[in-house]
Every structure is written in C-alpha cells, then in structure tokens.
C-alpha cells in the first residue's frame, strides 16, 4: 500500500535561516499523525509545505502519489502553474491557528464558498452540504452568524467545516487550539476526534499531548528542523528515547 503523504529529504530555508533540514516521513491513508516540538522547530513550516503554501528548497513531497508544487520530466523539474497548484490544494484541507474565516461572509457562506467557486457546485448543493457540515460540528443554530459574532471555538469549528466542504483526502491542522481559551479547546478537539474516527487522514501540529496520545497513530517529535524521533504516541510519550524529547516532554506534560 502506498502512502498518502510521503516526504523525502525535505529542506526549507528563508535566506540564511534553515528551517527544515531534511524531513523524511510517510503517512498511510486513514491515519492521524501528530507533529509536536518546541516553537521554531519547523513543524508548522513543514505543514505549510505539504499544501505548497511554502515551496520546498530540496527533497520531494508527494500527496496521493502526486509531486506537490512541481512536475518532473526526464531532464528537469518544472514549477507547476497556478491552476495545477490550486487543483492539488483542493484535495488538502487546512485549518489555521487563527481560524482565518472570511469576516464578510456568514458561517454558511464561508463553508459553501469553496465548493461553489472552486468546484463549481450549484449554489443549492453547496449550501445544503455546508448546512449538513455545520450541523455535524454542532453549529446548526449559527448558520447565518458572521464570524465576529462567534466564539473562538465556534469559529474554529466553522473553519474545520469549511475545509471539509471541499471533500479533502487529507486534513492539515496547524495548532488548531492554541489561540483558544482553555474551556473552548475541548469542543474543537471533539470534532477532530470524530473526524479521525470517520477515517480522515490528518496531520496535526499540536501541543495537546493528551489528544496525541488518544487519537494519534504516529507521534513525530521535531526539533531544530529535523525529526528527532517518531513512533506510537503512547510509546514515545511514556518512554522517550532521545534526550531532547525527554527535555521537551518534561516541560509540557
């Protein structure tokens, strides 16, 4: 079985600042991978490389068997055009730390916008699907609210529904609960837990170790642009082999 996500020797640098120093990993369909590590370790950057919000500088990155951002011919690597990049991103949902809902659209419009604009679904079909998704994340009574009128937890759940509306093969979560008040974290994690239960393939950058232990199939610990260790979350969290992992976990657990 081929992996849904595969990274080989991925490097990323901004000028002299070397953020990713050779990332190798693979993720099977239906699995949940949690990326943890100190801030500045490159975990968010890696996530943003997966849907080509950031272009990688070395290595290769595949999603669903397709090289992300480039096309390889016999003799050279070609940058993909705007249209191709958009097509690749359609199948990769992303949820941001700061929600990034569109403030000038209602919750329902936020969710229906992608399918109707990008997938050219009919307005009725897109709206019906959006409504269904919002009910699924427990926001059936907030369909016509603008983001400014929603709590952080509610906004993040709309953002998850917005990403799901594109019927993605893969979901990327970039610290989805870091900007939330503590009592609102649970409602977002519940939705993510449900998604994982439905078999969605997910990569989650998070500081929620309990979530990683319970939901994650793999835990990847990154530090300073490299993967320090990875494995079964229960195993890594209980018996970290590497000293850097131990040091990090002793601070957050």
């Amino acid at each position: 079985m081929s992996a849904l996500v595969r990274a080989e020797g991925v490097h990323k640098h901004y000028g002299r600042n070397h953020v990713l120093k050779g990332i190798d990993l693979s993720l099977e369909e239906g699995q949940v991978m949690c990326l943890v590590g100190p801030s500045g370790s490159g975990k968010s950057t890696f996530l943003r490389c997966v849907n080509h919000l950031e272009a990688i500088n070395r290595g290769r990155l595949w999603v669903d068997g397709e090289l992300i951002g480039y096309r390889q011919s016999a003799e050279a690597l070609h940058e993909l055009g705007d249209k191709e990049v958009c097509r690749q991103r359609e199948r990769i949902g992303m949820v941001f730390q700061s929600f990034n809902l569109f403030p000038h659209y209602t919750a329902l419009e936020n969710v229906a916008l992608g399918p109707s604009l990008v997938k050219k679904e009919s307005r009725a079909a897109a709206t019906a699907h959006a409504e269904e998704l919002l009910r699924r994340v427990g926001l059936g009574d907030k369909l016509h609210s603008y983001p400014a009128r929603l709590s952080g937890g509610q906004q993040q759940r709309v953002a998850i529904a917005r990403a799901l509306a594109m019927r993605p093969r893969l979901m990327l979560f970039d610290e989805p609960t870091s900007a939330l008040d503590p009592e609102l974290v649970g409602e977002v994690l519940d939705v993510m837990r449900g998604l994982a239960g439905d078999g969605m393939t997910m990569i989650v950058v998070t500081h929620e170790m309990a979530f990683a232990r319970e939901v994650g199939d793999t835990l990847v610990f990154m530090d300073d642009g490299v993967i320090v260790e990875s494995g079964d979350p229960r195993e890594v969290l209980a018996r970290p082999r590497h000293q850097r992992t131990q040091a990090f976990l002793s601070k957050v657990l």
Partner: protein, 310 residues
Amino acid sequence: MATGTARQGLRPDADIKAIPIRRPWRWAATALVLVLLAMLLTSMVTNPRYRWEIVARYLLDGSVLNGLLLTLEFTAIAMVLGISLGVLFAVMRGSSNRVLSWTAAGYIWFFRGTPLLVQLVFWFNLSALYPTIELGLPFGPVFATLDANTLITPFIAGVLGLALNEGAYMAEIVRAGIVSVPKGQLEAASSLGMSKSMTMRKIVLPQAMRVIIPPTGNNAIAMLKTSSLISVLAIPELLYSVQIIYGRNFQTIPLLLVASIWYLLATSILTAAQTRIERHFSPDRDPGESYGARLRRNLTSRRANVKEER
C-alpha cells in the same frame, strides 16, 4: 423623601444611582456656540447685501442648471476612470515584475507631483507637442492619422486631466486597502484551491473596500469641486456658468451663493451615498452602531460605561 432615596443609594446591596459628574465647561461651550450661530443666522437674514432675491432668481436659471449638469458629468466620468486607473495601477504597483511596479510608481509620482491646473493646460495644449496622433503598430505601419487639435477638445482635455490625476490618488487608496487585508485571508483562500483572481475578487477586494470607500468618498466630493478648475478650458461647468452671469450683471456674491448652494446639495447627496455604500461592505457590523457612534467611541477616552451600551 429625597434624603430617603439618597440613603437607600448608599446601601451596597442596592442598584447604584450615583450623581453624574458635572461638566460646566461643556455647558459654557454649548452656550457660546449657540450665540455665535444665532448671530450668523440673523446677519444672513437682515443684511440686504446678500441679495437673496437675486439668488432666488438665478438658482433655477437654465445656464446654471446646464452648468451643474456638466459638473456632475465631469465628476462621474473622472471618478469612474480614476477608480479604474487606480485599481489597475495599485495592482501593477504590487506586481513582482519590476517593470510593471516601477511604471506604476512613476505614474503616481508624476501625476501627484504636479499641479492639476498645469496638467489640464498641458493636455489642452497637447497639439503643440504632438501635432498629429497616429494609430498603428508600434514602430510599424500607420493606419490612421488624427489631428491633435481636433481630437483634443476642451472636453477631452478636461476628462484626461481630471481622470489621470485622480487615478494617481486612487492608486494609493486602493493599495492601502489591499495591504490592509491580513495574510491569513489569502492563505485560507489558497488552501481552498481558489485561484489568484478569484481570491482577489471574492476575498481581498470586498474586505479592502472597507478601507477604500471612506477616502474614495472624500475624493469624489473633492472632485465635484476640483472639477471647477476646468473653467480655465472655457468649459461652462457650474462655476464658469455663474462667472459668465456675474461678468454681465456684477452680482458676484449672490451668484457665488447660487453655485455654493448647488455644490452643497450635490456633496450632501454624495455623503449620503457614501454612508450607504460603507454599510453595504460591512455586513458583519452591528447595523445599530452608526458611523457617528463609532467615531465618538474612539474619540472619548475609555471610561467606565455608565450608560447602557448598545
């Protein structure tokens, strides 16, 4: 009885009914302003040299109304072209292509940096620089040759001058609007697979509009009055048409009042339109919270809200 309620107010478990702070200076300022306003109004009514009867006679005069119509036409055309040029040059300015961005910067630099009056006279005299204007391929064959003197009428020179100048100001306004949209919005749109132009139309511009509209309304109102500069090209717009009349009957002040009344009426309508458009682009804002309420809130220092907040 009064002391009874006051005492009751002292009980910590009763609702607080405190005596409001007294503001004697606010009262003094209000009284002063009212007196000055009354003096001004009285003099306007009692001073016969205002010649209100002449104002009344010329207010609906045919040539004045034609002038008003021309002023409105020039304002509308110059603003539509100016906004289009502004969007074009703002997008060019933000291009990663250096030739495009520097061309836009140069355009803005030139047209903001020289007086509009100079630009108007320049366009009017374009034929001195280019006697003929040829249509054809660049450096190639020519299909048609036009005489610049007949092509550049005062009307065309006026429109060119006003629109090109406005475009430079609008480019800066549009640019400020576009950069005001947070980067996360673009990333969210990209992650949904939206193309660049889709993101521009559906995500960036609608949000940029909130920043763009107030100064654009300002510019439209300014344009209404700035368009009077084309009177130097002998175009009978509102100001020039009253100048023609007072050149004959020497009733300078009453006729300037006629023009002012029309200018005020037109700017009032534009202001109302601006408010409506601002509302349209802020659907998520509380409709009960008026522009004035938001302004007052941001002007007064943050004190405890005594009155119930709406």
